[in-house]
Amino acid sequence: PVAKRAVAEVAQHDKVPRPVGFVPPPPPCPGRIRYFKI
């Protein structure tokens, strides 16, 4: 029998590990809400 490996699993192994405390940059727009969301 041939066992298939999940694609997601492969992708996980290929990922470059992110440094501890890494925060992804916020999307450039729209900006932050100062008071409340309408």
Partner: protein
């Protein structure tokens, strides 16, 4: 090899915030009606380089109404943004600016204001009174009565109505009508006006003395009227800017 194009500006970049500040300041300075608006969010920004130290900037802004009337001398930084439960009014503005040597100047602006959805406010606060039409009979009756009451009790200048800013009607647990309105002093004293109020005229712009009143009338179970008017003192006003259309909620407002 040509230099790489600069990274696009993010909406929260200091430069975007500086542009938005210039835009909001311009919008408030060029309005003579309603309330001052404060920046809630920069929705989008686009920069078109025109040459060395010269850019055209397009901004999309989301603004919120404050409690300061546009004629109030209170700086915007000290004005309170109306809470959501107070049935806030939002402004959407498109602004075109020019940035030369780091300095912004507004070339054009177009704004559209509208109150928040009644359903959304009631979902958060089921008992909160909502904004009422400014043409409502109960509202206009309250404003007329309130101004008459104020003028009859003060020996100072006779005040005239400039515009009604907001109004609300509460039905439960009591029937209450609430209104806010802008006023201006006339060339008459309150005593002079008793004989012929029609002869009293607003002072010219360079001597204008504007003010703001809040009035509350309890109609049920018993009738009671409360009026509070504050005059701002003499102000140097900006030149009146003709608007493409004038109007206030609940009819949406557009200005260019």
């Amino acid at each position: 090899v040509p230099a790489a194009a600069p990274a696009p500006l993010g909406c929260d970049d200091p430069e975007s915030e500086a542009a938005a500040e210039a835009a909001v300041s311009y919008i408030n300075a060029h309005s003579r009606h309603g309330y001052k608006f404060a920046l809630n969010r920069i929705e989008n920004i686009r920069v078109l380089p025109q040459g060395l130290n010269n850019d055209i900037v397009f901004l999309e802004l989301d603004l919120l109404e404050t409690t300061c009337h546009i004629l109030s001398p209170t700086p915007l930084a000290n004005c309170t943004v109306r809470s959501f439960t107070d049935h806030a009014v939002e402004g959407d503005c498109d602004v075109k600016l020019q940035k030369v040597d780091g300095k912004f100047s507004v070339l054009a602006s177009k704004c559209h204001s509208h109150p928040d959805s009644r359903e959304d406010v009631l979902q958060v606060c089921p008992d909160c009174p909502l904004l009422e039409s400014l043409n409502d009979t109960e509202v206009s009756t309250l404003v007329t009565s309130a101004l008459k009451d104020h003028n009859s009790k003060t020996p100072n200048a006779y005040l005239r109505l400039l515009e009604i800013g907001r109004a609300k009607i509460q039905y439960e647990p009591a029937h209450v009508v609430i209104a806010e309105f802008a006023v201006a002093a006339t060339n008459c004293s309150a005593q002079d006006a008793q004989t012929n109020a029609e002869a009293c005229h607003l002072l010219p712009d360079d001597e204008a003395n504007f003010g703001f009143c809040t009035a509350t009338m309890v109609k049920q179970p018993s009738q009671d009227l409360e009026v509070d008017c504050q005059l701002y003192g003499h102000q140097v006003t900006t030149q009146d800017i003709p608007f493409l259309s004038r109007g206030f909620y609940p009819i949406s407002q557009d200005t260019s």
